[in-house]
Structure formats: structure tokens, C-alpha cells
Symmetry: C2
Subunit: 229 residues, 2 copies
DNA sequence: AAGTGGTCTAGACCACATT
DNA sequence: ATGTGGTCTAGACCACTTA
């Protein structure tokens, strides 16, 4: 049985976790490890490269590989789209379009998109339901300069999120999480009290450097996102 | 100049993004791509493996490599510890211990830790400051069963977070984000109004399968975490 | 100048899932 | 049964960075 790069990863991880190799300390170089494991250097390289990717070690040419002095915590959150999220809860998903209007993009949106020029935008407000109860408000702006087709769609049956994925499946994005107080409107739509603390997800999306859409997702009270690492 | 695996990644990414290879569709296999790029299969493999890791394609033995039908969004959030976070804002970091008490762990904490047995725990409440203004409340429980040394530390000068990192630099963790309303106590400590929407970060940490600590980080109003992908 | 990681090659064998 | 990805090997050359 040949050496598996996972064996090497595990060995190194163990030595680090056990404290044998302290933070900041040098880890043996690839040639030595390859000799000790009687394997090719490429195998050690794969192991070390992945450990670096995971944030456990830091590598620099000539300087060697060191145990990270302060661990890097970079949790990965899975962001499913709403329908999947609701279905994963075992609930029946529902969708309702609340408002739809096309017009010139407001200044704050142009700023958000990093644009100087005037463009038209489509503004959509939708409600996502779980077992007929409000689950999330989707307040979305779509650049009609980037996606003129959006204007032909009335979004009465299918949410803009799913439509967008079918049109521009791959894109660059910036996502952020924060907490906001429910205003009267949001409270009415989510069936909670005004002032309630709500979880807000914001996402801006680009495609080939062009701004596509900006969305505010306001989740029902108690929403939580979780990741392990 | 030899073929760089990045060239292959870029080529494939372009074809996918341009829509030449639609979601769900098969991507050429490694042997064919290696032939087309006149490079070793290992090079193509590296490129494809990374694209799969990024969530752009899906690979299965014998079935081949396909463009993901629905894109995977797994943003990575950098979670620095508070002092770095404050300093990155250009502010002066400050720390204050508010409360410290050792005693039997409450039932909810044992549940959180997945324990049946009674243990003792250290409960700490601290305030992190940015330019002398409240920045974040740290409400932490440390298992004295796992880390008896914690009881010897008074945490008056150094925050438990930094101490923990120095003691158990590597661990498994679960992190979650949510929104809560400020209770009277939190409002007083953060200098905001009761009922204000606050961003809550919770983290449970294990080491070698043993529960170490559970912490609630309540950030000042307006806190936001961001990631790009 | 020298040591380290970064990458490529050409070949091989294997594991697995589909056919 | 067969085609695909998964991995290892042994060797090579290169890029970077520190000494």
C-alpha cells in the first residue's frame, strides 16, 4: 500500500494539535518528510499545500513551512437559495410577489453598483413563505442595463433569485450579514412587531465586471446561519 | 513555456461563464483536455480538482465532470479576533473584565457541550472597546473540566479569547450568526437602547472531541460581517 | 549563493460508478 | 466490462526569498 497524502496531513495535523510543533515553529521540509514517509515529494507537497489552504500552516519559499502563529478561522457558510432552505426545514415553500416597478436607479443603488452613469433598474419586493407563514422578504434591484430581459418577466410565479440563477449562473458576489430593527412595513410583512431584531443578508452580484443585482434578504425573527470548521 | 494549470482553469471557467458549456453539461475529460493543451494529465487534474473545490463543476468517476446545475455559494468569512478587528478599523483597542465566576455548569451549557455529567465552568463577561467606546460584549463559558488552568487566570488584563488561543491554538468549532434585541443589561454595557437590534456571534469550540468553550459575542449596533467570493 | 516551495512531465495502477 | 477520475512516482526545472 502506497503512502496516502491524507496520512501525511493527519500526521502533521496531529503533531501540531498535540503541541509537538508549536505555533510559529518550522515544520520539516518536503524532502525530509518525503524521506521519512518513503514517498515522492509531490505527495508531501499535496499534503502541505492543503494544510496551508486550510490555514493551519504558512509556507514561504526558502523560509520553509511554519505553524501559523494565530490560527486562521475562515468558516464557510453554505448559502442555499430560499426555496431549498425552506424545503430543508421540512416545510412547504411558497412565493408571493408584493411589488414590481421599473424606473431610473436611485443614487444609492448606483453607488452600490459603483456606477457614475444613469441606468434603469427593476425593483422587486417578494415574500418567501414556509408552510404559508412569512419566512423571508426579498427586496431586490436588478440592473436593466445589464439584464434588459428582466423587464419582460413579471416574476409573479417564479422568484427573481431562481430566474437570475438560470440566466447568469456564475458570478462574483459580495455578501454581508447584519442585524436590523424591523420597520413597520417589514413587521407587517413578516408578521412580527415593529422594532424586532431581524437578520439581514445583503448581496451584490457582478458578472464580467458589470453590476447585475443587489438584494436585501430580511429573514423572519430567530433566523440563524451556521458553519462548522 | 509550459502549460500552467491556471491557464486550464481560466479556459474552462471562461467557457462556462460564457455559456458555451451549460449547467448540467459534460466537460471534456482529462485525457482529451491534456491532449488539447499538450500537457500532462496531472496538470489538467489539478485544474479540474480546484474548479470542483470552488464549486463550479462536479466530478464523478466514470460519469465525468459536469458544470454544476445550481452554483454553490460558500462564502468564506474571515473571523479575526476582536483586538485585530478593532485595530483594523484604525481604533485603539481596550479591554475590561466585567464579571468572573466559577461554579457548576448550568444545564443549558452542558447540553450545548453535549455532556451528561456535571462539570464546573468559568463564566466570564468582558467588554471590548474601540477608542474607549463599547465595541463588543464577550460572554464566555470555559469548561474547567477541559481547561483547569483557566481558573488560575484572573483575566483582568488579557481577554479569554487571546488566552485560549495561546493554550489551544487549534480546535474544531461551530459558529453561527443571528440577530437579537438588546436586553437592558446589554444595552447598558454597549451604550445603546434596550430593544436595539444587535448582531450576535456564537461559537462553540472543541479540542480532541472535548468541549472547551462557548461564547456569545454581542457587537455594538451596526456591526456587519462581509465576504467576497 | 543556496535552500525552499511551486509546478510540470510521463507513466503507472487503482477505485469506482455506470453501462 | 469499461471509462473516468484519484493518486502516486521519480525526476526535472524554475521562482522566490533569505542569508
Amino acid at each position: 500500500m502506497k503512502t496516502d497524502f491524507r496520512d501525511i496531513k493527519q500526521y502533521i495535523r496531529r503533531r501540531i494539535v498535540a503541541g509537538d510543533w508549536a505555533p510559529g515553529q518550522l515544520v520539516p521540509n518536503e524532502v525530509d518528510l518525503a524521506a521519512r514517509f518513503e514517498c515522492a515529494r509531490a505527495t508531501v507537497n499535496r499534503a502541505m499545500r492543503e494544510l496551508a489552504e486550510e490555514g493551519l500552516v504558512e509556507r514561504r519559499r526558502k523560509a520553509g513551512t511554519r505553524v501559523r502563529s494565530t490560527p486562521l478561522h475562515r468558516p464557510r457558510f453554505e448559502i442555499p437559495f430560499v426555496r431549498k432552505e425552506v424545503e430543508a426545514l421540512g416545510s412547504v415553500y411558497g412565493y408571493r410577489l408584493i411589488d414590481r416597478a421599473a424606473g431610473p436607479a436611485p443614487d444609492w443603488l448606483k453607488a452600490q453598483f459603483g456606477l457614475e452613469t444613469d441606468i434603469r433598474a427593476l425593483h422587486l419586493v417578494c415574500l418567501h413563505l414556509a408552510d404559508s407563514a412569512p419566512y423571508q422578504i426579498e427586496d431586490r434591484w436588478i440592473s436593466l442595463a445589464a439584464l434588459p430581459d428582466a423587464e419582460d418577466n413579471d416574476f409573479s410565479e417564479i422568484g427573481p433569485n431562481e430566474w437570475l440563477i438560470s440566466v447568469v449562473p456564475f458570478s462574483d458576489a459580495e455578501i454581508s450579514f447584519s442585524a436590523i430593527a424591523a420597520d413597520a412595513e417589514a413587521a407587517g410583512r413578516l408578521g412580527c412587531a415593529a422594532g424586532d431584531a431581524l437578520f439581514l443578508t445583503e448581496r451584490s452580484t457582478w458578472w464580467n465586471g458589470q453590476a447585475i443585482t443587489y438584494v436585501r434578504l430580511i429573514s423572519r425573527p430567530g433566523h440563524k446561519v451556521t458553519a462548522r470548521y
